[in-house]
């Protein structure tokens, strides 16, 4: 288990002052405590986008991940489940709190993706949305009078739902992931994994990994962004497990005297958090407990910077006559 970024309990040496003054101790590690206090005050922001055909359990999975009704359907009411004619982008924000840590979670839903008969260019509205968020952030950054804390609406992570056919990736999946792995972190998951037996699941995962490699699709965690050997080891283990086979549920059932989230069928109850049944726990750990900060870092330092470089180069070639002084100074 990787360590969380910020230690939850300050080291014991902190609270008790040593009776003998220790000359070798300076106190630089106290900065961790200061960072922690600042983070608690500021709170975190996380923007997750869910993409996949309708009926794959996206909203349910979001509710399960954050153990509360955060999905679009819970907020806007179910009503008629009509498949929209074009892709829409709907985002819902929530402020959730746990143990004093506040988080502003935004779930961005894409109903209508891949549902039409002709799905050409269904990825374009999504790419446009992601680039628009980058643009918004860039504009704020370029401002002469900048805000102290720029509201971060960039998409940090995109969870792509693969339907559990059991055979291989479909052309639509390949096209979408190829284009979007260049602008955002993609985490592919196998939706509704209770359809597959364990052998079928292994076979399907192997096939998907082959397909991803064959098409040059780099999903999170990307190989090239591993910083050191320790990271690489952890990430290799994760890479052997993607895509995660998940099952979502927001209903609780009684199993062995405990109340657990699960799905009840006539032949057994599927426990969502049991790693022998499905890999939801791994996904949750990856996204929230261990790699959340890493995901945000990669988004801001790599994907956003790539976008910024491209945009500023465009600007420079367009406006060669006008002296963009403040732009060049910001490029430093």
């Amino acid at each position: 288990m990787a360590e969380p970024v910020v230690p939850e309990v300050p080291p014991a040496s902190w609270t008790e002052k040593p009776s003998v003054v220790d000359f070798s101790y300076v106190g630089i590690d106290a900065i961790l405590e200061q960072m922690r206090r600042k983070a608690m005050k500021q709170g975190f922001e996380l923007n997750i986008m869910v993409v996949g055909q309708s009926g794959l359990g996206k909203s349910t999975l979001m509710n399960t991940l954050f153990k509360s009704k955060v999905s679009r359907k819970s907020v806007m009411g179910t009503g008629e489940e009509r498949i929209p004619k074009t892709i829409e982008i709907k985002s819902v924000s929530h402020d959730i709190e746990e143990k004093g840590v506040r988080m502003k979670l935004t779930v961005i839903d894409t109903p209508g993706f891949g549902d039409q008969i002709n799905n050409e260019n269904c990825w374009q509205p999504i790419m446009k949305f992601i680039n628009d968020q980058y643009e918004q952030y860039l504009q704020e950054e370029i401002n002469i009078d900048r805000k102290k804390r720029i509201p971060d609406s960039r998409v940090h992570c995109c969870i792509y739902f693969i339907p559990p056919t059991g055979h291989s990736l479909r052309p639509l999946d390949v096209e979408f992931m190829r284009r979007l792995s260049k602008v955002v972190n993609i985490v592919p998951v196998i939706a509704k994994a209770d359809t597959l037996t364990l052998e079928e699941r292994d076979f399907f995962k192997k096939k998907i990994r082959e397909d991803l490699r064959a098409n040059g699709i780099d999903v999170y965690p990307q190989k090239e962004f591993d910083e050191d050997a320790e990271d690489r080891m952890i990430n290799e283990k994760i890479r052997e497990m993607i895509p995660f086979a998940v099952v979502g549920s927001d209903l609780e059932y009684q199993v062995n005297g405990r109340r657990l989230l699960g799905r009840k069928t006539k032949w057994g109850t599927i426990e969502v958090e049991n790693i022998a049944h499905c890999e939801f726990a791994y996904l949750r750990d990856l996204l929230i407990r261990t790699h959340m900060q890493n995901i945000k870092d990669i988004t801001s330092s790599i994907h956003y910077e790539m976008y910024r470089v491209r945009r500023l180069n465009e600007n420079n070639t367009h406006a060669n006559n006008v002296a963009d002084h403040h732009l060049t100074s910001h490029e430093m």
Partner: protein, 455 residues
């Protein structure tokens, strides 16, 4: 096998015979109708023996064997091959001959596989028509077209073989049933499903199935089924309807099936031990989903309906309704192009030879028409050329005239000038002469004066 027997049985009962239970041959009595079909029940004096009739039909059908063509349609990965294997308890698709889903398809194709199944002395020639690549591409417009073409071509084959002179062998390869697999999303039908069913419900018996039904909990399954039926009614899609019968027992069964439409099925090729019993199922860490357990899924209902009770009815509906629709539409189109009514009548029973004659005549008329057209075009071109030539001739003529005129004008001018010139010369000469005269005169007078002076 109660399929052929059932039919004959009903036929007999409609002839106002009292219902005859299927009994071995040597029991009496039988009831026979009187000569005027008055349902008088009479006791036979002895044993006649036509109670044996059902058995004869039965034996003949068994010898002949049965044929059935089944089409499976659905996106890849929905378990079609597995379900076929489970339904007929054979390995139609095995590791040596993998199912279409294991091969990647670029376009929609239609594939046929035949298998001969034998059970209890009865043999069934089963043809499975598969449609790999359906609904898998990014752009799925018209992915139903190959399917429609295949069904129509089978109908056409049958029509042609029916119209032939020698009808000894009539292989029936028409598609008698189409199992449409709906993905278990839990929400409703996809636009592709609706489009496909709307286009095919007039051509083939559609039986919608919910594939991979072990994804859904019982409540989700109920909701989903209700939603699908609602959408099917909303779009006026005519799925296969189970016929009502006179028999109470059968009606109850039929009603049970109708309540559970569309059937939620699970297929499996593996046999697992559960409580000491060997059953077909899927093994999960949380339990075993049994295929043949009617509480788990509707597979047994589908199998019973498809094979045990309604196979004959499916064939009949295909023959009487869908095929006749196709036939009347096709022949109406042909006769609409025909010339006169008398010919129409004979055209309905024409043989291939007459058809060829007609085609030859058509071809000849077409050629004649083309010839005429070409002649016309040629004439027109010739006229044009002539006209052009005449025009240029006139033009030349005009130029010639004009030049002549110019020449004459110049000529006249020249004459004018010469005249002028002559006049001037004459004047000048006259003047010169005058001057000379004057000179002479003046010199003479001078001389005269001189002479006068001297005197």
């Amino acid at each position: 096998m109660n399929i052929p027997l059932g039919r004959v049985y009903r036929l007999l009962s409609s002839n106002s015979l009292a219902p005859v239970k299927r009994q071995p041959q040597d029991t009496i009595p039988l009831m026979i109708p009187t000569s005027e079909s008055k349902a008088q029940q009479k006791n036979l004096e002895g044993y006649v023996g036509f109670a044996n009739l059902p058995n004869q039909v039965y034996r003949k059908s068994v010898k002949r064997g049965f044929e059935f063509t089944l089409m499976v349609v659905g996106e890849s990965g929905l378990g079609k091959s597995t379900l076929i294997n489970s339904l007929f308890l054979t390995d139609l698709y095995s590791s040596e001959y993998p199912g279409p889903s294991h091969r990647v398809k670029k376009t929609v194709q239609v594939e046929q596989s035949k298998v001969l199944v034998k059970e209890g002395g009865v043999q069934l020639l089963l043809t499975i028509v598969d449609t790999p690549g359906f609904g898998d591409a990014v752009d799925n417009s018209n992915c139903w077209q190959p399917v429609i073409d295949h069904i129509d071509s089978k109908f056409e084959d049958y029509l042609n073989s029916e119209s032939r002179v020698n009808r000894r062998q009539m292989p029936d390869s028409r598609v008698q049933c189409c199992l449409y697999f709906i993905a278990p999303s839990g929400h409703g039908l996809k636009p592709l499903d609706i489009e496909f069913m709307k286009r095919l419900h007039e051509k083939v018996n559609i039986i919608p199935l919910i594939a991979k039904a072990d994804t859904l909990t019982p409540e989700e399954c109920q909701e989903f089924k209700k939603q699908i039926m609602r959408e099917i009614q909303e779009h006026k899609i005519k799925i296969y309807e189970f016929p009502e019968t006179d028999d109470e027992e059968e009606n109850k069964l039929v009603k049970k099936i109708k309540d559970r439409l569309p059937l939620a099925v699970v297929g499996s090729n593996t046999i697992i031990e559960v409580d000491g019993k060997r059953v077909r199922g899927r093994q999960y860490p949380w339990g075993v989903a049994e295929v043949e357990n009617s509480e788990h899924c509707d597979f047994t209902i589908l199998r019973n309906m498809l094979i045990r009770t309604h196979m004959q009815d499916l064939k009949d509906v295909t023959n009487n309704v869908h095929y006749e629709n196709y036939r009347s539409r096709k022949l109406a189109a042909v006769t609409y192009n025909g010339v006169d009514n008398n010919k129409n009548k004979s055209q309905l029973t024409k043989s291939p030879l007459a058809q060829m004659e007609e085609e030859k005549k058509e071809h000849v008329t077409k050629m004649k028409k083309m010839e005429n057209e070409m002649e016309q075009v040629f004439e027109m071109k010739v006229k044009e050329k002539l006209q052009k030539l005449r025009d240029s001739e006139a033009e030349l003529q005009r130029r010639h005239e004009q030049m002549k005129k110019n020449l004459e004008a110049q000529h006249k001018e020249l004459e004018e000038k010469r005249r002028q010139h002559e006049e001037e010369r004459n004047n000048w000469e006259a003047q010169q002469r005058l001057l000379e005269q004057q000179k002479l005169d003046s010199s003479r007078t001078l001389e005269k004066n001189k002479k006068k002076k001297i005197f």
